[in-house]
Symmetry: C2
């Protein structure tokens, strides 16, 4: 028998009176008064099938042996349900199918968890039986939404004249950036390919080749220690254009995200997005990807407290650090002493030595550090932080990076705790004018804030040799609700500037040549000015489907230990495979 | 100045009288009577720019220093060319742009080869400067056509309800099939991921998950010794469906290829494609991917020659082999003795000991082996091969596989030499009903003709244990002009049949469990009947753009030695990288 005339989930009253063939999974079976009711599920939803002896004794007998998750095909007639039996919660709730025949295509053991939304199961069990986890509607809907989002991306970019061009997965390993995944070469023993962290150089070469507008939805890899929203492999919407300004690239990105949000949530987001300078973002939000759905901004109070008797503050200032505060409006009543202590522990994660606090009462501050400030200072603080009775001020005094990290993280925590976030709001934002470098204290050298191919601001080029920390870049990140959706920049296309850049990063000329000679060569043969952006698809899908982990947006993700509980990858391989690659596993690993 | 109001290649008479801004590459510069003419090229084509002192002395002075492949932006007014100057060969040939300003965005050294079609350059040089090679219109057009083809694939499949779902690149290494590319794990030292040879098991699990219709345009990897049309990484149009018959999957594939050909070549191909059984293809064409654009079919002449005095033939038959012939119509005059000797050498490549031949003259055969056949036998051969005066018969006598390989290859060679192929024809074909296994003489065991997940024909399942060589499969390949475009099958979804299959392939139960336990598990939890197909995108693009090597269809391909002359990948990596992976390179490799 043919297996399907329509999907289960599409059988509405339009089908009443028709003979249908349906195939799917048994969601539920109930036996009632000599009849059997089966909810039959496929990817479009479920419909009720009724087996009764008048229709077919044979089908009824087979249906008796059917269990949950059995795969069956049924034929039957669609009829309207009696008014009292209509289920308004599902699309097919006004009908049922009277089965005249049934075929069992595959049996099923009892699954290790219920195939329904909101099950409370460990992540490991979900991943081990991912094919069952993905049967749950909330999961399959994310995967379908991901398809829709990709389609919107492609349609938008195709219509704008972008070309989808594939770049290699087997590349050369380069020393900058995150750790590469390596692929040993059998043909060239002792040599390795690297999986791409991004197709950065390839897309720049495509601009040198004259393709003008490139995009790719492409897999990228980073062998980093994994965090909640990281995966060893992730997918990037990768874009590069020639002859365009940073503003043109940003405008194109906005139209792309507008189309994506329209597709995913059916709403029109306003464009252009607000622009904020990197320095301002760090000053006001303590973050280069600020969540601007709520206030709780950082306020510099150094000028007020510099002359106070509180040594923690004055010493921080003397050592070139900062003292900043957040006014938690209404926090005075909201937070108990114990909760405030917990806040103090929380900021220590970010390197802070502790949290100072006061509560605003009628005309004065109360709390452990209030005594260090006379009435004038207290009034100044209240004015500066726009305090009112019932508010609470929290302070961190430390070097700038610690103040930003501590208070930046704390404001997110407080916003959640005090329910200040409108979960329906999509607060898009450009963070622009980034520093070109950041100082890596571990490696004791400058590293690229974005990557070594980022174009410095024209007026800062002269500082590359002398004062790298003062060089700003033509770089921009697009931020949504406190998450970095993507980052881009104009690129260097002049070999002299690129050489200066490599030098500032600590490369010798020979090292730069050995690693990036082909790029410097390309700059000598007519490379146009170019720039682009890369957006994290997994994160876009995560935020637009209301999840908090990109694992849920990937059909077959890895665990936090970069393994797959289903297939047991990674695994040991045969001695023959290793011999062909001329590799040994070191004793320590064995 | 803004960099572009339109593309160079789009400046037609529609623009006459307008001020335009154009950016691109200097294709050619000519100085003539105090004027400078520049052909300015971008991805859409080239247009002539004229610099004259009346328009701008300053621009003229700058233009004097411009060389080929410089990147420039010009502003100017579009004017009609005088009738005598119109170039009808290009879209922009009726106009030119009088430049009022010019900006040099980047200079260029003289490229190592001309940026134009049909250059005679070594593949290595082209790959070393791939960004220049891709500037040549014939190359950039292929990349653009590839984009168009992918778009047609996506649109067709999206409209049919298929979901584009991404599968992992970091998988488990499995022993069947080609050699895996391995990726060492740092988190699990001594363990490895494998890059996918195809997402076969993942797509089957997606069917178990209920997605019903899956596709992906996906990168795949095989670490095999490379041939002309192989690359270490290649791209597959990967498709899987549930509850569909083999015929339904074939029909869907036909509609997909119809849309692709329409997009690529603007023509409608007839569907359904002809179906040919595997056994018939081997018998008539000596190939499982026959080129049916021409005749030269293989004819079994064993019954005629079995009783002859020609020992080469009779012994082959006695040893269970075959004697087959091809009638090369008109070959008698077309082929000299020397050329026929070369044919004999050619078939030796395919394991044949030599080629026998005769020419058809008036009522008799002439040639070295004619004497072994009396007049009756000669007449029978002429009749069987439909010979006419001027034809030539070529024979191979050997075991069946050698006869097929030799004559199958020879018919392709002869068809080219005798100009029998209509290069405009697209001869699509399904080869169906494949053997499930082939015997691997090196490994001395059966291996899967497609892969170990292919469903045997229902009536042959019983033979799996007893007579594997007699088991046929529900497998199908789609063939175009002698190339395999793709292959597919219905899959096993029953763990008992899958277990028999693994056993026939020589796996112990424990080995099968260790490697494929998760798949067997999935079959126990309600996996639906399913099947699919995978098409080689690179090959589709190659055939539809008239190339003979998939390298030309890939933006950044590898050489025959799996290396990239541009980036020098694969390369040595640092001791630190190896130490983190706990790997040593064996002494031999060092």
């Amino acid at each position: 028998m043919d297996k399907r005339t329509t999907y289960c989930g599409l059988v509405t009253t339009d089908f009443v009176g028709q003979e249908v063939t349906l195939s799917g999974w048994v969601q539920k079976r109930r036996d009632l008064g000599g009849l059997i009711f089966i909810d039959l599920r496929d990817r479009e939803g479920a419909v009720q099938i009724v087996f009764n002896p008048d229709e077919s004794k044979e089908a009824l007998a087979i249906a008796e042996n059917v269990r949950g998750e059995y795969v069956i095909t049924i034929k039957g007639k669609v009829v309207e349900r009696a008014a009292a039996q209509v289920n308004t919660k599902i699309k097919t709730g006004a009908v049922e199918v009277l089965a005249s025949s049934i075929e069992v295509l595959n049996a099923a053991k009892t699954p290790p968890f219920y195939i329904e939304d909101g099950v409370d199961v460990s992540d490991d069990l979900r991943l081990k039986y991912r094919y069952l986890d993905l049967r749950r509607p909330e999961m399959s809907n994310i995967i379908r939404k991901r398809h829709d989002i990709k389609r919107a991306v492609r349609n938008t970019l195709d219509d704008l004249g972008f070309l989808d061009i594939e770049t290699p997965m087997l590349n050369k390993s380069t020393p900058e950036g995150a750790r590469d995944y390596l692929v040993p070469s059998r043909v060239h023993p002792g040599h390795f390919y690297a999986l791409p962290q991004s197709p950065q150089l390839n897309k720049q070469l495509l601009m040198a080749a004259g393709f003008d507008k490139y995009y790719q939805i492409v897999r990228c890899f980073r062998d980093e220690d994994l965090r909640g929203d990281r995966q060893p492999e992730f997918t990037q919407i990768d874009i590069e254009t020639s002859f365009q300004s940073a503003e043109e690239i940003q405008t194109m990105t906005e139209s792309l995200l507008k189309a994506v949000v329209k597709e995913a949530k059916g709403i029109d987001i306003p464009t252009p997005f607000p622009r904020m300078e990197y320095d301002e973002a760090m000053a006001r939000y303590g973050s280069d990807k600020p969540d601007v759905r709520f206030g709780l901004e950082l306020v510099d109070v150094a000028d007020v407290v510099a002359e106070s008797d509180f040594k923690v503050f004055t010493q921080a200032i003397e050592m070139g650090g900062q003292v900043k505060a957040i006014n938690i409006v209404g926090g005075g009543a909201a937070y108990s002493r114990k909760q405030i202590d917990a806040m103090g522990e929380f900021v220590k994660i970010y390197g802070s030595k502790g949290l100072a606090w006061v509560k605003v009462e009628e005309g004065e501050l109360k709390g452990p550090i209030a005594k260090f400030f006379d009435a004038t200072k207290q009034a100044e603080l209240i004015a500066k932080l726009d305090g009112h009775v019932g508010d609470m001020f929290v302070f961190v005094a430390d070097k700038a990076s610690v103040v930003a990290a501590s208070l930046g993280a704390l404001r997110g925590k407080v916003a959640k705790e005090m329910n200040l976030i409108n979960e329906d709001e999509l607060a898009f934002l450009w963070v622009v004018n980034w520093p070109l470098f950041e100082y890596d204290e571990e490696e004791n050298r400058f590293v690229a804030a974005h990557h070594p191919f980022t174009m410095p601001n024209e007026e800062d080029v002269a500082l590359l040799d002398t004062k790298p920390e003062a060089v700003y870049a033509q770089a921009y990140d697009v931020v949504l609700n406190g998450y970095e959706l993507g980052g881009g920049s104009l690129r260097i296309y002049d070999s002299a500037i690129q050489a200066k850049m490599f030098k500032a990063l600590g490369f010798t000329e020979e090292e730069a040549r050995a690693q990036f000679g082909f790029l410097m060569d390309a700059f000598e043969y007519g490379t146009p000015p170019h720039g682009g952006i890369a957006l994290g698809l997994d994160r876009v899908v995560m935020l637009l489907t209301g999840r908090d982990n990109i694992r849920d947006t990937i059909a077959f993700p890895k665990t936090g230990r970069a393994s797959d509980p289903m297939t047991q990858a990674p695994s040991a391989v045969s001695a023959k495979q290793l011999a062909e690659l001329q590799l040994d596993i070191t004793e320590k690993a064995e």
